[in-house]
Symmetry: C2
Subunit: 402 residues, 2 copies
């Protein structure tokens, strides 16, 4: 399996994407901000969504569609989250689905909806309609789709994997995502869209998506703030003609591994492009008593403002690493812990080690900074991703709506 | 009851404080960094400590002393946390107590120890001894004590209250604290020291201190990072000659209220002086189903990087307030929530309200920014305190050890 860096949501057969500029935010940004994804064939669909209790209107809509129907299209806008918009918000989300359905010749209950941007401002539905009707989905639309869903992202995030199933069928999984702030997903990330031309049985598709999200998007953090709009969707259109993959299929593991690989690839792009970030932080926690402990410790370290500023300052201040692990809630015994920056051991079995300070600083100046803990309590293992905290994060967020 | 802003740990009768400069950090800072607090009479003592699993050596020592003995003195150093220092750390903390005991003519098991500063560097015990032996406790030492325990604090934090018990006895509670980063206390704050000349029965003293901490220090957050060294101690020396206050005493409520008032006064000084902060954020959550929910929501809002940057930018981005409440874990119904900035209503029963944007911006330009939520689910109420997040926070923390 290899990542196709120039692949995306239209790499799998039978998927088309189109975008338009509708000035959804009303600030004449000029960048495309409405995006349509369309499958030429009916799909099974699965999704994971934010756990934030203020989940946005499009999340409510898409949860319903995922729960009780097939889907064939996704309509997305950037610039406005349609969150905190009360009853009007739900009605606008349903209307977005209806407008996209009308444009594509579908039923509105085949259309999933996602929105991202400012919270608390009603959607401009007139401009939305102009954007949707101007979108012309094509098989070459991956890159434009990835651009249209961006907000403060500085780079589009897309990729695909080519997969051969045990029976010889060759197909693809493609994906794209956005999000660089309010990132601390609690089921999925801000917005992520995946497609595959394999046939996949619905229940297994949901289970595989959740498992992949738990290993990827749910282990990314930029600022510890869980969004109201987190949504990760997958459409499987069966264009490959394979027998639908289910949990019992020989192909299940192959499919899961490919999905995991693509999701990890995409989620690292989120952390690397975190608001104001100059570095990707990768936190490895080994030897935890439980998977939950390993995940808790990795996420807490990756989200600690003090760890993040130390990484920005190339400061091997490993005390902050331990302090974050210690408050994470993960079970640990201070007298057993080993700690590393890259391959440099800073603490062994709870005792500080002499280390080459200049080498540690040089290691931290890399664009990828690896922080590792071994808890020596069990076999569980997790990796989390984050980014450094810089003055630029403050600049970006001190003046977002105004 | 009125706060005596120029009072401190030596305002209650029979308490003396002294400090010295020992260059504990080894950077020729020149500021006093060793502090001694001494009671002329035996005291009952109580303490609450960090829940961080990497709790520091002095925390281990002081927990033991609080558990099994009376105390008469506290020795404190700034510049070095004596945390992450392995077995050597515990032996150094015990040695600090022994050196202070020798200097003051006490048994070492009457001496509590607290340290704050860099994690992972052994204490310089030779300089520690010179500092302790140079400290000359006096009844005028409150202010110097508050200065000596500071690290990145920009102002000393101290105060006292004068209290008349129902039987007519007049006495005092004095206190001081430090800490402006790694502030998200999980039992107490970085370091806080309280004294009183009332006689207080030990069990009630512990219970009253825990209750006061839960309403004050445990509701302050600067950056969400719980310190390894959080310690809040109180010594009650009985110099007033009152019958020891117990839970059943008429004086119990009077004492608790005074202690609460002083702790809230001190903890707001921490938030206001948060690293890089320009404003104090006060988050009020009313109408929660449980006290735990109210506290969770208030703390989560006060610690959200997106709320903090919005306050810095005078941006009435109330969506971030709701998003933080929604991820806090507190029970809430989005369709019941009212939200306010100061007295300006931005959302009522989950529906966005029209509001005067210019007035909201002006309200956020005040040095105290009040954010209020009413959940309309019950009667529980909590207040949390935090500060804005600025470029200066990043500057301070990107280059702390080096």
């Amino acid at each position: 399996m290899n990542i196709l860096a120039d692949g995306g949501v239209t790499t799998p057969k039978g998927f088309l994407a189109g975008t338009a500029y509708a000035d959804i935010k009303g600030n004449n940004a000029g960048k495309a901000d409405v995006a349509l994804l369309y499958s030429e064939r009916p799909c099974t669909a699965a999704g994971v969504f934010t756990q934030n209790k203020f989940s946005a209107a499009p999340v409510h809509w898409s949860r319903e569609i995922i729960a009780d129907a097939q889907a064939r299209a996704i309509v997305v806008n950037s610039g406005n989250a349609n969150a905190g918009t009360g009853d009007q918000g739900y009605s606008d989300a349903a209307q977005m689905a209806a407008l996209a359905a009308e444009h594509l010749g579908l039923d509105r209950r085949e259309v999933l909806v996602a929105s991202t941007g400012v919270i608390g401002v009603p959607l401009p539905m007139d401009r939305m309609w102009r954007g949707i009707s101007a979108s012309k989905p094509t098989a070459a639309g991956s890159h434009d789709f990835a651009v249209a869903i961006m907000t403060t992202d500085t780079v589009p995030k897309l990729g695909a994997v080519s997969v051969q199933l045990p029976d010889g069928t060759v197909g693809h999984i493609g994906g794209t995502c956005k999000g660089v702030g309010m990132i601390h997903p609690d089921m999925a990330t801000m917005l992520g869209f995946l497609t595959t031309d394999f046939a996949v049985e619905r229940q297994f598709l949901q289970q595989a998506l959740k498992a992949a999200a738990d290993r990827s998007f749910n282990m990314v953090t930029v600022d510890g703030d869980t969004s109201t709009n987190d949504t990760l969707l997958i459409l499987a259109n069966g264009a490959c003609g394979n027998p639908p993959i289910s949990e019992e299929s020989d192909a299940a593991t192959t499919f899961q591994n490919a999905l995991d690989e693509l999701c990890v690839y995409l989620c690292k792009k989120i952390a690397r492009d975190g608001e104001g970030a100059t570095k990707l932080i990768e936190v490895e926690v080994r030897g935890a008593a439980t998977l939950q402990d390993a995940r808790l410790a990795a996420r807490t370290i990756a989200s600690s403002p003090l760890v993040k500023t130390a990484v920005y300052g190339n400061d091997p201040n490993w005390g902050r690493l331990l302090a974050a692990a210690g408050r994470s809630g993960a079970d640990l015994d201070p007298n057993k812990v080993d700690a590393f920056i890259g391959d440099i051991c800073l603490m062994r079995a709870g005792q500080p080690q002499a280390y080459d300070h200049a080498l540690a600083v040089a290691t931290m100046k890399q664009e990828l900074v690896q922080l590792k803990l071994h808890l020596h309590l069990g076999e569980a293992f997790a990796i989390g991703w984050g980014c450094d905290l810089t003055e630029e994060y403050v600049h970006i967020n001190a003046d977002y709506t105004t």
